[in-house]
């Protein structure tokens, strides 16, 4: 098969949540990234983390509908991993000599920065959901993430009727929204001040 068509299909599969596509991209690229990280002062666990972060960046790219990577998946994944790993080495003060490029790289600074912002937001949301405690956490997840109906949820959680479950879900939602408005604001304020100083 034409390699460009194969790449396009892989990205489409990735965007649609096809596990086979994930497996193929994993198989084709993970060892390369593992060598990059391990040869530059990192561990196998760190290689796994960096690679999986790059997969999330690639997923975003694929979902944006813009399949024009202008380069091979391999080059893109390698560039993103290299960028993330360099930043991490600096954060940990584990600086090594210039990390050499095994394959050509493409500019990915913006994509990585975008990913980092989103990752920070996700972490904040997970923290907010986690802060709810039970049964709020599971109630909110059942309704908003698993998208189950209230009747179903009421019987699973042991409420006598759906209205009581709805009432409780509403209280939990208000707590979650309060947490967001208090904390997400701080994140965006922080971001603004970073922008101002640049």
């Amino acid at each position: 098969m034409n390699p460009d068509i194969k790449e396009k299909e892989l990205l489409e599969g990735l965007a649609l949540g096809d596990k086979k596509a994930v497996e193929t991209i994993y198989k084709d690229n993970f060892n390369m990234v593992q060598s990059l990280v391990i040869n530059n002062n990192g561990s196998a666990q760190e290689a796994k983390d960096v690679f999986q972060e790059a997969m999330i960046v690639l997923l975003e790219k694929a979902r944006s509908g813009n399949f024009e990577l202008n380069c091979q998946i391999k080059t893109y994944v390698y560039s993103v991993c290299r960028r993330i790993w360099l930043k991490r080495l600096q954060q940990y003060n584990r600086y090594t000599n210039e990390v050499e490029s095994m394959v050509g790289t493409v500019p990915v600074e913006e994509d990585v920065e975008e990913y980092e912002k989103r990752d920070q937001e996700f972490a904040m949301m997970e923290k907010a959901i986690g802060s709810l405690g039970e049964p709020c956490k599971s109630l909110i997840e059942a309704f908003y993430i698993q998208k189950r109906n209230m009747q179903d949820i009421a019987s699973q959680f042991g409420y006598t009727n759906a209205d009581n479950a709805k009432n409780q879900k509403y209280k939990c939602l208000m707590r979650l929204k309060n947490y967001f408005s208090l904390n997400i604001k701080t994140v965006s304020d922080g971001r603004n001040s970073i922008n101002r100083s640049c």
């Binding site: 994930v22 198989k27 908003y144």
Partner: protein
């Protein structure tokens, strides 16, 4: 309308669960009541964010399955 009922209406509206006449009525309410309109915008964003959290969780667990299977 109490806020709890309003939120429920907004959720049914966003999920496309309203019948035509109810939907028309609700859209009219959005136009005439800025607070309702604001709540729809805010809650749509919230639901979108929760969807994304769900999708990211799913993707991360796929990545871990694939990693375990391939190493």
């Amino acid at each position: 309308m109490e806020e709890i009922q309003l939120i429920e209406a907004v959720e049914r509206y966003i999920r496309g669960e309203m019948k035509t006449d109810e939907r028309v009525y609700f859209e009219q309410l959005r136009k005439t009541n800025p607070e309702v309109d604001q709540l729809v915008v805010e809650h749509t964003l919230f639901i979108h964010q929760m969807n994304e959290v769900g999708e990211l969780r799913k993707f991360k667990s796929t990545l871990n399955e694939v990693h375990t299977g391939s190493c």
